[in-house]
């Protein structure tokens, strides 16, 4: 390889289609968070609400490919009027995780969710985004009143037997994580959530977040040279795709980027993707960004990658 070659963005094949995301709410959301990496809002129609009849063929195709788990995001999935039918159909064939802001729940809706959870042999995970442990720390990011609304949603979920995963984007320094978690767990205990599951996310410096904080630096790209010795299984795009009302895209982060749309059906999307976007470097650094598992602290993956152990095995090639 010449120096020029190794500076190229790397091409990552899809090794195994294990995880399928559905952008069920498109880019539509009842909130307008100022860190949203795809700038969702009540007016952002870049991607629309998925109808059940659009969703179902993709679910059926996913079963054919042996997909292991399903994730639902937006926007806010619960503004989709068919979300319950969509989740019921999913829970008949596999586990489902829904990413929500928890501001639209009612007792009736949560009872319905609990019913479908109990009727399925699979897990129904709710991942609730709250970005601070108080109105003072959350509301400037997510909007006035959203802390109280979301915590009320969490309280109802916990009362119904859910153990929601509270997800927060790190708008503080990484060394302050422990303090943040301690404060937040105390607030959650007050509403009855005594064994909280928490996930901290690094910020993605695109969309609204690039305006709130700052974008990526000029040289922040993933290159082919950086992939040498790196454990690529940490990147979502090696085993995942996302479906929207427009087609199949490489990942939820890049879902509104025209070049990240790979086709109309899952079959169209089985080739790999060149990691040409600057946001790819955040996944590269932190790994497991979108999955339910917590993200590792920065740069740890680069180290573990160089010590990657071949005995752990690799995933078989798709097809």
């Amino acid at each position: 390889m010449t120096a020029t070659d190794t500076d190229r963005p790397p091409f990552l094949p899809l090794t195994s289609l294990d995880t399928l995301w559905f952008q069920v709410a498109g880019t539509l959301c009842n909130l307008r968070c100022n860190h949203c990496f795809i700038s969702c809002s009540p007016q952002n129609h870049t991607l629309g609400l998925m109808k059940f009849e659009q969703f179902k063929p993709h679910l059926d195709e996913a079963v054919q490919y042996g997909v292991k788990e399903f994730y639902f995001t937006g926007g806010e999935p619960f503004i989709n009027p068919e979300i319950f039918e969509i989740l019921e159909a999913t829970l008949a064939v596999g586990p489902a995780t829904v990413l929500t802001n928890a501001t639209r729940f009612t007792e009736e809706k949560i009872a319905r969710l609990a019913g479908m959870r109990d009727a399925s042999e699979y897990s129904l995970e709710l991942r609730v985004s709250i970005d601070g442990f108080s109105p003072e720390t959350n509301d400037p990011i997510r909007g006035p009143g959203t802390f109280v609304q979301a915590m009320n949603g969490v309280r109802m979920l916990v009362a119904a037997g859910f153990l929601p995963i509270i997800t927060s984007m790190r708008s503080w320094e990484i060394h302050q994580d422990d303090e943040f978690l301690r404060e937040f767990k105390a607030r959650l205990a007050e509403i009855g959530y005594t064994r909280p599951r928490m996930k901290l996310l690094p910020s993605l410096k695109i969309g609204q977040e690039a305006k709130r904080d700052h974008g990526y630096g000029k040289y922040e790209f993933v290159t082919e040279a950086m992939m040498v010795g790196y454990d690529e299984t940490q990147l979502l795009c090696h085993n995942s795709r996302v479906v929207s009302d427009r087609g199949v895209h490489v990942c939820p982060i890049l879902v509104d980027k025209p070049d990240a749309k790979l086709g109309v059906t899952l079959r169209d999307s089985l080739n790999g993707y060149r990691l040409r976007h600057q946001a790819c470097i955040t996944c590269y650094r932190f790994g497991a960004l979108c999955s339910n598992a917590g993200s590792l602290e920065g740069n740890r993956l680069a180290r573990s990658g160089s010590e990657a152990n071949p005995a752990l095995g690799t995933t078989p090639t798709q097809n």
């Binding site: 996913a62 586990p95 995970e125 599951r197 010590e307 152990n309 690799t314 078989p316």
Partner: protein, 262 residues
Amino acid sequence: MTERVAIFGGVYSNHLALAALLEDAPRRGAARIFCLGDLGAFGPHPDEVFPLLREAQIPVVQGNYDNSVGNNLADCQCGYTDAKDNYFARLSYDYTFANTAPENKTWMRDLPGEIRLNLNGVRVLLCHGSPRRMNEFLWETTTSLAFLERLCQDFEADIIVGTHTGLHWHRALPNGKHFINCGAIGRPANDGRTCVWYALLSIDEKASVTVEFIPLEYDHARLASEMRAENLPPEFVATIETGWWTTCLEVLPMKERARGVF
């Protein structure tokens, strides 16, 4: 005639449960016994399990712990991503690594990654996590049947048996194949009972498959006392004494987590 084998995993240095299993499984008609790895972790005196396994000539699949200890790696490769999970995993790994004899490390390093059996014409694949990745977590409530069917097809097996998560479960798949997690004999199954679990797999001459999970009683009070004497974390001892998991919980899916109390 029916072929019956016992399959266990996740020993976690629980030599007392291992000794109990080696008496219990033949009594239940198991002609052969197989171990799916993770010999160390969590429990006391890691060297004590090796003479038992060698004496009984138990074939062993290499688990991530065995791979780590055997190859002098820096951590257990358990696959945790949460800081609290990793804190306890670190305590457990450092103790096990420091107290495992060099000859046992070498023995673990050379264990196979999988074992294949043919029982009355049925192809059985024994692995640690999944056939494709030694430390892949396959949980009962987050693994679709379609995915398990794909694994059986990709790896040319009628029955896949793994461990790694430490919780036993079984699915008969729509295409006639099976996936079994044999559980762990190193610690209880987060069910408030002090017993541990292993699997009995029986296949008759018509290739009909029966899977039974066996609750195994052993002297858990003695294990707890040995753990205390070794200054292992009180959280680990509590799990042995109560049957509830106290550590490495963040990796659990919601339904598995909800079944426990922590």
